[in-house]
Amino acid sequence: MSDRSAKKSGAFGWFMQRISGIVLLATLIGHFWVQHMPTDYLADETEYLAIREAYAAKNPEYKKAVEQGLISDPKFGEHIITYEKVTKRLSHPLWKAFDLLFLIFGLYHGFNGMLNIIDDYAKHKGVRLALVATCWVLAIALFVIGTQTVLTAGPYNPPSFSLTERLP
């Protein structure tokens, strides 16, 4: 075939799917470790109750939600994702970068995979166009929403230091 250029062969997509997969393997372990495993990035029972009490005292809407049982009690030995802990983690710029990396590579890998699947099964030209367009719209929307969530989450409080102290 004369038109078997790098672009048409799909070799770049094939290669990048593997590269992004390797990056995802590393970021996924980190993400699962901090958000799903019982580490300090989650609140244990006592921490959860303390956080809940503090937020309820500060925020009447939060208090109402606790009273209505919408922010429920902890179970024995449970580790819980909380606004407090997530925003605290995301207040660090390196964690923001980590989550953005995870988001971008996850979206790329996921939707590139979807395009491969569409390529395999969708034969009709119109159907293909519709599916590919849906993938792109969804991927771009998720990128915008996800990036906004990560960037705006957590007040960034840079460590205070005075310049004069550092100067000789």
Binding site: G21, L28, I71, F76, I81, Y83, F111, L138, T149
Partner: protein, 148 residues
């Protein structure tokens, strides 16, 4: 039927196939399911599942702008049904990762001594990680309450 040779490589005989539900079902049921096929199918299905999950996940996380909304959403996710979902997510993600790693090793390093054995090793390693990682997720809901 001609024998496979260099001039005449092994080609499946062309059968007249009419695409309909009965024929598709017959084909699926009569298919010889080898481990490699399972590896491919599970990888594909888990991949589609994760794209669906990722979409819901990123849309849901918009709640992070408000502590009340976010902690309410987290409370919803802490019901037994969602905990089973979280465990299923771990299973899907683990299989896809380990099998993906196997694919990358085959493609980049030419790991191909014993394909079937490698796939079984993938399954065993996945099962181990799923059990280890699944315990802290499920224990407070399905194990500790019954031990106490």
């Amino acid at each position: 039927m001609s024998m496979p040779s260099i001039e005449n490589p092994k080609v499946a005989p062309k059968l007249p196939y009419v695409a309909n539900f009965q024929n598709a079902l017959q084909r699926i049921l009569s298919y010889h399911w080898r481990p490699g096929m399972w590896a491919w199918l599970l990888h594909r299905v888990s991949g589609i599942g994760m794209v669906i999950y990722l979409t819901i996940h990123v849309f849901g996380l918009r709640a992070l702008y408000d502590p009340v909304q976010f902690d309410m959403l987290m409370s919803t996710y802490r019901s037994p049904l969602f905990k089973i979902g979280e465990f299923a997510l771990l299973a899907i993600v683990t299989y896809h990762s380990i099998n993906g790693f196997r694919i990358v090793m085959v493609d980049f390093l030419g790991w191909s001594p014993k394909q079937k054995r490698m796939f079984y090793a993938t399954l065993v390693l996945s099962a181990l990680i799923i059990l280890l990682g699944g315990y802290p997720i499920l224990a407070p809901y399905f194990i500790t309450p019954f031990i106490k």
